[in-house]
């Protein structure tokens, strides 16, 4: 594990693990980490014990981690079903799952199949300047669906998948809220 040197004061020297520890499987970029939480100050990751000191700073979603003496600070916040971790100027998206639940889910047939439908949501509040597509039109990846003005910039919202435009819910000139659905691509 890069960036962490395991010194002799970890768990390795003799302490016993209690029976009721929590185990998590945390996935970042398709890499799975098995994290076992022993107590407030001790964890085991992928079999290696670490001494941790973990606190939120100043009542903000900013967390300070001291792990085997190394000091890290990150912004950690949930977004959809992931955790966004902004650490040393780099963003990691982590999925944290209870190991037991994850196993059960896997046994039940794995992930739900992704639906083919895409709902274009306004990434920020703004005004609809143009809708260069119409209902039923075929679009390719990268085609502009809506032009939204916000912060004096005209932002082109593009299709992330090919498909057919469906259910256009806004008109040119409309003011829209953040996350408001604008149209769908089937």
């Amino acid at each position: 594990m890069k960036g962490i040197r395991v010194t002799g004061n970890g768990l390795a020297d003799g302490k016993e693990c209690k029976g009721s520890t929590m185990k998590y499987i945390t996935t970042i970029d398709n890499h799975e980490f098995l994290v076992e939480i022993i107590d407030e100050h001790h964890i085991i990751m992928d079999g290696i014990p670490y001494e941790v000191d973990f606190e939120s700073v100043g009542n903000q979603p900013v967390f300070s981690l001291i792990i085997n003496g190394f000091s890290y600070e990150a912004y950690v916040a949930p977004e959809n079903n992931e955790w966004q971790v902004l650490l040393h100027g780099r963003l990691y998206s982590a999925i944290v799952e209870d190991e037991r639940e994850k196993r059960l889910k896997a046994a039940a047939g794995g992930r739900a199949i992704e639906r083919g439908e895409f709902h274009l949501k306004a990434p920020m509040p703004g005004m609809v300047i143009a809708i260069p597509v119409e209902d039923g039109q075929n679009v390719q990846i990268g085609d502009v669906l809506v032009i939204l003005e916000s912060m004096k910039m005209q932002n082109e919202l593009k299709a992330p998948k090919a498909g057919v435009v469906n259910r256009i819910k806004v008109n040119v000139g409309d003011s829209v809220e953040q996350n408001q659905t604008l149209l769908s691509v089937l």
Partner: protein
Amino acid sequence: MFNKVLVANRGEIAVRIIRACRELGLQTVAVYSDVDRQALHVRYADEAYHIGPSPSRDSYLRGDKIIECAKKSGAGAIHPGYGFLAERADFAQACLDEGIVFIGPKPSSIAAMGDKAVARATVSRAGVPVVPGTEGEGALSDEELLASAASIGFPLLIKATAGGGGKGMREVHNLEEMPFLLKAARREAEAAFGDGNVYLEKMVDGARHIEFQILADAHGNVIHLGERECSLQRRHQKLLEETPSPFVADDQELRQKMGDVAVKAAQAVGYVNAGTIEFLVDKDKNFYFLEMNTRLQVEHPVTEMVTGVDIVKEQIRIARGRQLRYSQEDINQKGWAIECRINAEDPYNHFMPSTGIISHILTPTGPGVRVDTGVYSGFEVTPFYDSLISKLIVWGETRAEAILRMRRALEEYRILGVRTNIPFHQRLMDSHRFMAGQFDTKFIEERFSLETAEEGLPDRAPIAAVMSTLVAHRQTQLSAQFIQRNERDTSNWKWISRWERMQR
């Protein structure tokens, strides 16, 4: 002479100007739109007047209301900052007509340089080299522009005649796509400047964007404060500026030659006050006049850091009719300065603007660090204005020291509540090409991405895994506790007082 200044702007530049006025012992008047009631410029000014709804066309672009506020408050001068009314000759003229000093150039200079086509013709006559393009009156029709395009050659740029800052600008690679792009550019120009006229300009390949800061007083003295390297842009928006330029570097001859031309260009329009001459420079050190910005620039602080000249104070002194306090020989570049523009935008999602209430800020401080900002913890970033929320400027004895200092300052900077492009700047500071000073105006868009920049860096995924797991674990535990409490607690009223205590 005036001793009260109205600042016809908002955000960091309004704060910057108020600070300069205060340090000169001048009274300050702020104007604000609906959403800006609690903005920093309103909090810092001696007086503040509401001028209308949040959209800038109803507030910060309402010259009539602003002049009315100046008269009501007895302000003898107006500083326009950048953007909004800064380059509107009619507004500058309206100020003069009302007997109010406009802290900027004469209306005729703004007009001459403001219409890019006229500007190019003017400096061209004065012997300053310009980039090939449509040099007419600027009000060309789509048909005329399409006709000229072939003779200029592709790739070329469509640019807003009244514009600046990349708005209304489009890159054209062939004739087929040009009609659609013309339409888009005109629409954006119309929205941004109330003027849909555009012109064409040849794209110089591998070009550097290097500009010279000019100061000119009303007594005929014109000097330059050296160059700024502004090649690092995305969608024609500058993201990082530095001075000296690593391209010009030790080539004092080139610096002097470009500086002389810049002074000549300013003189060609009888320029007074602070202004900037922008050049495109090709690999062979040929340079072409691009445009003159007849106002204070966003990136003026880097020049202040290496020359020691306070440009805004100098603007005000010039407007008061004083002689320049410096001659060309007094100006030396000491050390190196870099500015990163901190924008409220998400570098991980196509740099989409991000809005919301800033819940927490930790400002980088210490030796050699300057921050110019208009936001604070508790302030709401709204979609009405541009996304620049802060400028982080560092000085170092050498470029290497400045880069290392910028790295630590970026690492220290915490802004919560909105997304910012800080991670983008952090990756840029790690880029070998940036460190070597090897980049042109296309570098960010074509040869730099967060993803590839992250390759080869220390991978802290295991740490991120530990941290996200611990946060998730705590959340799970906390909700378990809440459920237990609910089961135990029979009196709902006790709950309320507990909440109250927790929030105190």
